[in-house]
Amino acid sequence: MKNYVIIGGGVASASCIEGIRQIDKSGKIYLISGEGKPTYCRPLISYYLQGITDFKKMKYRPDEFYTDNNCEMIFGKAEKIDAVNKTVKVGDKTIKYDRLCVATGSSPFIPPFNGLDTVKNKTAFMTEDDALYIEKNISPDTKVLIIGAGLIGLKCAEGLVSKVGSITVSDLATRVLSSILDDKCASYMQKVLEEQGVSFILGDSVSSFDKNTATFNSGKVVDFDLLILAVGVRANISLVKDAGGETNRGIIVNDKMQTSLQHIYAAGDCAEGYDNSINARRVLAILPSAYAQGFTAGINMAGGNKSLNDEFPLNAIGFFGLHALTAGAYTGEMYEEKSDKNIKRLFFNDNKLVGFILIGDVKGAGIYTSLIKNKTFLTENMKKSLEKSPSLAILGSLTRSQKLGGVV
């Protein structure tokens, strides 16, 4: 009987359990989690602030998930991996593993701002605790400054805007959501947030903090009551790095989710897998990848054989009812359609769809996604039909009949 150890209590960890249990129903699974809370998906905390969900509903799996899957929970911080003796040290405990999965996720990155230590009310925006902290420290008059106009910063702004006096979001980049959207699309999304009362300072960075005042490089001065740092995240790689495993921005894994260390796997936001859209390694810190990686790791840990090499960036973001779904790479020839409410951009390369941005009308986006994933060859007519709308017309009658008339 194998001993499985999983470090981390997030989504990749849960899917790793599901993967293991698909093959091995009896092996022992130890789960080391520092947060001491049931698994929840981090992005949900902004919806919590907004009041759309609560901690109970946020639970990723039912309460009985861990007991049903015969997992032993060990609350605490994994301090050290001994890859030779195959043990993990947690506090004063040493846990032996046959297969180990590192699903340690990521941590907020806090740049070394001048005077940051003088700011009293400040937090990152990653965990339930962060959300609770924010909730405790706001009133209808609170002036909030959010550093970082990426997904985390903006979702935080969305969650808070109706509950505080003002929100200013700043970013070094000249546009919002710079890693996902280009200028045009970004300004479109920015407008929606501005209409709701969020103000922006873009292409600028804080040069120094002094208690409740931030001074920007441009000389602009912003007073605030609460500072939220959402500059970015860093993969938690140190456990594997220290144990001698190969790391880059994330823990380097192959298509089986194995690290360079024998019997050690990594999955989720801490892992650097393969991005099929750019044919290169990249940390894909998104949920579908976390799930797929964890699940793949689990299968392989339990002796199955599963490869994962069709991952690529997928982002679903939305503010105040305006949704933007994006996928893949924005290279090659672009088809664009724009109206007051919608933007549709499709990127074709080598007669294949390689990426898209949909803002507003996002219905059927998954059909585009699957074409990227399957690298489906597209004729001119198929492209035309895709440009009109995503539909199964693209499959042709025969394949479609099989899909709609058979078991898939």
């Binding site: 969900t53 509903k57 949920l287 799930y291 996002v362 199964l392 017309a393």
Partner: protein
């Protein structure tokens, strides 16, 4: 287990399935009251490929990518049926982004919707199947 299957050979493109679906999931007992002057959000939709038409709804995949991509755990598969817990759903629409059939439908409320075979509503049997005038949509074991 029984599922909804579509035979495009018999689809007339009448779109009745969409309206029957919207009605079945409206919670109303009168179709006029449920649908009149409303924009409908059915969980099944009719697509066209030239002159061919066919209805598309959730395939309840063996390996449902929507469930695996759901950030809130709102989507789950039990007894072969993929269902969505609208209380848990926050409306991030990752499921819309990944469903290869376009069968998870975004709504303007904070939740996505999808075909749940009418098992949760008052209809109890897929309304699209019941109302299809030409047996283009069937509910059976395959």
């Amino acid at each position: 287990m029984k599922k909804i299957y579509v035979n495009e050979k018999w689809c007339l493109g009448c779109h009745l399935c969409e309206y029957n679906c919207a009605f079945a999931n409206s919670g109303e007992t009168d179709m006029v009251k449920a649908l009149k002057d409303k924009e409908i959000s059915p969980r099944i939709h009719v697509e066209e490929d030239g002159k061919i038409t066919y209805a598309v709804s959730c395939r309840h995949c063996e390996d449902p990518v929507c469930v695996k991509s759901c950030i809130s755990g709102a989507l789950s598969k039990k007894d072969g049926v993929v269902t969505i817990d609208k209380n848990k759903c926050v409306g991030c629409f990752t499921c819309v982004l990944v469903c290869p059939y376009g069968a998870v439908i975004p709504t303007d409320k904070h939740a996505a919707i999808k075909c749940e075979l009418c098992l949760k509503n008052a209809c109890g049997y897929p309304a699209c199947v019941k109302g299809c005038p030409n047996k283009a949509i069937v509910y059976e074991e395959r």
